[in-house]
């Protein structure tokens, strides 16, 4: 997909001026947060589970090579194949080869952010293969020619009315009298259309929430059951997943599952948790004839051993963006690539370069709510600050910011000069503030005064007043 992260500011302005988007974002603010809190409050050991989940992932990342190889062996033993893809391009061509060999014309897809990351749908269309998204949210945005704005709720930027209009536009068979006013009716309408697609598809592609080294299984969680139909009905199942999805055992998987859905949607568990291991065995009632796993690196292995390694613990629950004031204000598309919100602000620079995505780690108030709710204890603000350090070292931030900062730091490093300069500037600024005691406009403070008044300084600085007071006391004593 096209990267618009360099235009983050313009994207954000557009988002702020979009009334439909702003209405839709209101639901993020009210919905996700309360549900998560209720789920967490109902589970006294939630914090202990978080610690344990972190430990599982840290251990796995420390031995990633070992677990990946063990996983591949198990997949092979179950009759499947693992394909290693270093880049997005590698992954696309591996997937295309499998689809071509299967003679695929239609491919159904479960929800997968990795296939967004590698731009699979656009690629398929160019190659004459028809991708069909089966997750309701993904289905909606495919109808609209859009990309997900949220990693677990891809169409969260839309209102019900917008979706109804899209369905009426795309589903020509719909009688105008058909009621589509409720999410449930939209879901059953999509289901009706998708039912036929499941049977028409030659290949089904899913992502993975977990890859289990112990058994060679892939695990997905869904609420609509679409993932199961995508991976069971077509002749060929392709799992597309990134390398950090690996966990050692099924027990580890179930441990992390206990924090995943609670953090994401506030459910104890997602409605469907589906484990698939290899192709259909003779005694199985259903399942694909071929089972492939395309394992994507795409820059992740270069995060290992760096200050960004902790990011690889991420289980894509979306809690960070659900609790982010910046995400609430502008939504996911403003971030300009696949991953929005705080996790995107850390991960995107790793994957596409901080030169293209420099705004993302800067567009945070560092309020810390993302880290506070992250089930994997990922120190997101700290890592955003690491990106800012790299940008500063490479001179990537705007010159005005750098000069402003340097001028301020010049005084902050020199207490005497700081006091001297402040003792002249502050009383003058205070007097200039007048009886109103605030400014509606001030030169060089446009970023502030564009939207709010700037309170004027009270009078002289505190340090000036304190020093005079102490001197007076001294005098009184002598």
């Amino acid at each position: 997909m096209q990267i618009t992260s360099p235009a983050f500011k313009a994207n954000a302005r557009g988002a702020l001026a979009d009334p439909h988007l702003q209405e839709a974002l209101g639901h993020v603010r009210s919905g996700f947060i309360d549900k998560r809190q209720k789920a967490v409050d109902a589970l006294p050991e939630f914090d202990a589970l978080r610690d344990s989940a972190r430990a599982i992932k840290d251990h796995t990342l420390a031995h990633l090579d070992l677990y990946l190889e063990a996983y591949e062996e198990k997949v092979k033993a179950a009759g499947g194949r693992v394909h290693w893809a270093e880049t997005a391009e590698d992954a696309r061509s591996l997937i295309l080869d499998i689809c071509r060999a299967a003679g695929a014309r239609t491919v159904t897809k479960g929800k997968s952010m990795i296939t967004e990351e590698i731009g699979l749908n656009e690629f398929f269309e160019k190659e004459g293969i028809r991708p069909v998204e089966t997750d309701l949210g993904e289905y909606i945005i495919q109808l609209r020619g859009e990309h997900p704005s949220h990693i677990i709720a891809p169409a969260v930027h839309l209102t019900k009315n917008q979706v109804e209009a899209d369905f009426r536009r795309a589903h020509h068979h719909l009688p105008p009298t058909r009621d589509l006013s409720e999410p449930a009716s939209l879901l059953s309408e999509a289901r009706e259309v998708l039912r036929a697609e499941y049977f028409a598809a030659d290949v089904g592609i899913t992502g993975a929430n977990f890859l289990v080294a112990e058994t060679g299984s892939s695990v997905i969680v869904t609420n609509e059951g679409n993932g199961d139909l995508t991976q069971i009905l077509p002749r060929v199942h392709i799992v597309v997943a990134s390398i950090e999805k690996i966990v050692p055992t099924l027990a580890d998987t179930s441990q992390i599952l206990r924090v995943l859905a609670r953090s994401a949607t506030g459910q104890d568990m997602s409605v469907y948790t589906t484990v698939s291991t290899g192709p259909r065995r003779p005694e199985d009632p259903d399942g694909p004839e071929e089972y492939h796993v395309v394992l994507l690196d795409n820059g992740r292995s270069s995060m290992l051993g760096t200050e960004f390694q902790d990011m690889l613990r991420c289980i894509r629950c979306g809690a960070c963006m659900n609790h982010c004031p910046v995400y609430h204000a502008v939504g996911g598309h403003a971030y300009g690539w696949v991953y929005p919100g705080p996790m995107g602000a850390v991960l995107t620079p790793s994957l596409i370069g901080v030169d293209k995505s420099g705004h993302l780690p800067n567009a945070s108030t560092f309020c810390g709510r993302c880290e506070a709710v992250c089930p994997m204890h990922i120190p997101l603000p700290k890592m955003m600050r690491h990106w800012r350090e790299r940008e500063f070292a490479r001179g990537l931030n705007p010159a005005t910011q750098r000069y402003g900062l340097k001028a301020w730091a010049f005084f902050a490093r020199r207490p005497r000069l700081y006091r001297l300069a402040a003792s002249f500037a502050i009383p003058a600024l205070s007097a200039f503030g007048g009886a109103q005691r605030r400014f509606r406009y001030l030169p060089f403070a446009g970023g502030w005064t564009k939207h709010r008044d700037l309170p004027a300084p009270e009078s002289r600085t505190f340090l000036q007043q304190w020093r005079n007071r102490e001197a007076d006391k001294q005098e009184a004593r002598t």
Partner: protein, 257 residues
């Protein structure tokens, strides 16, 4: 008699640059509260800023230089207290990380262990349970992010406010949600910051309180500036001003009647 034989803790007040420059009243209110709590307060002249603007802009060299100056200036005290969760959080939580593995590691850790935000110092360290101030009217309280999430400051200011005679606390909806200030964020991304503070202003007005309080001047100036731009009739003050009974002068930005 016994009181006199006990050594009063020596507190170095890190007044913070925003208070120094924009709102000295908060500095004097802090001194008064600390003295009421039984401390001997000193204000070293060699202080400037905690270094957050540099730190959060990725400028590590300037941050370290500023941090060294702060540590040198304040390490002689029994305690270092700042009337800001954000600046105290910087001194307490982030200075040690800056010097980790270096020659100043132990020195920074020893310094940071003595740092406290004002409200938490008064209640958690000095055991203060009540203040002598009075305030006729209703207030609401915004939990600033760093104080809340880095230093667990939530109950302390509310407990002290509960002891102010005549004061009625009306809780703020989403009090724990960021006000959109974010230090340099508010000038780097003014439109997003504005959207966030607009939401905050809606909740502040809905609280029905006459006065908005918080423990961080950056957030207070942001919220005051927005409320005043909207013409809202709400006074904005640092919580220390009310607790110290120094709330008779003009409010931040002169707002409210």
């Amino acid at each position: 008699m016994r009181q006199e034989t006990l050594k009063r803790p020596r507190v170095g007040l890190f007044v913070t640059c925003l208070v120094d420059l924009f709102r000295p009243t908060v500095g004097f209110a802090s001194v008064k509260l600390l003295e009421e709590a039984g401390c001997e307060v000193e204000v070293p002249m060699a202080q400037t800023c905690c270094g957050q603007p540099a730190y959060n802009s990725g400028d590590r060299d300037d941050t370290i230089a500023i941090a060294r100056n702060t540590i040198e200036t304040f390490e002689e005290f029994d305690y270092i207290v700042a009337p800001s969760g954000s600046c105290a959080g910087m001194l307490k939580k982030h200075y040690p990380a800056l010097f980790k593995g270096g020659a100043w590691e132990e020195r920074a850790a020893a310094f940071s262990a003595k740092v406290h935000e004002l409200m938490s110092f008064l209640v958690d360290v000095m055991g203060m349970e009540a203040v002598s101030a009075a305030h006729e009217g209703s207030v609401t309280y915004h939990d600033s992010c760093s104080g809340l999430r880095e230093l667990n400051i939530r109950e302390q200011p509310r407990r002290l406010l509960g002891s102010v005679s005549g004061l009625k606390l009306k809780e703020l909806k989403d009090a724990d949600v960021c006000c959109g200030f974010g230090g340099t964020f508010c000038v780097k991304y003014p439109d997003i910051s504005n959207k966030i503070v607009e939401e905050k202003a809606v909740n502040i007005k809905a609280s029905g309180a006459e006065t908005l309080l918080a423990g961080d001047l950056g957030c207070l100036m942001n919220m005051a500036g927005k409320l005043q731009r909207q013409g809202a009739d709400i006074k904005v003050r640092h919580v220390a001003e009310v607790l110290a009974g120094m709330d008779d002068g003009p409010a931040i930005g002169g707002g409210g009647r």
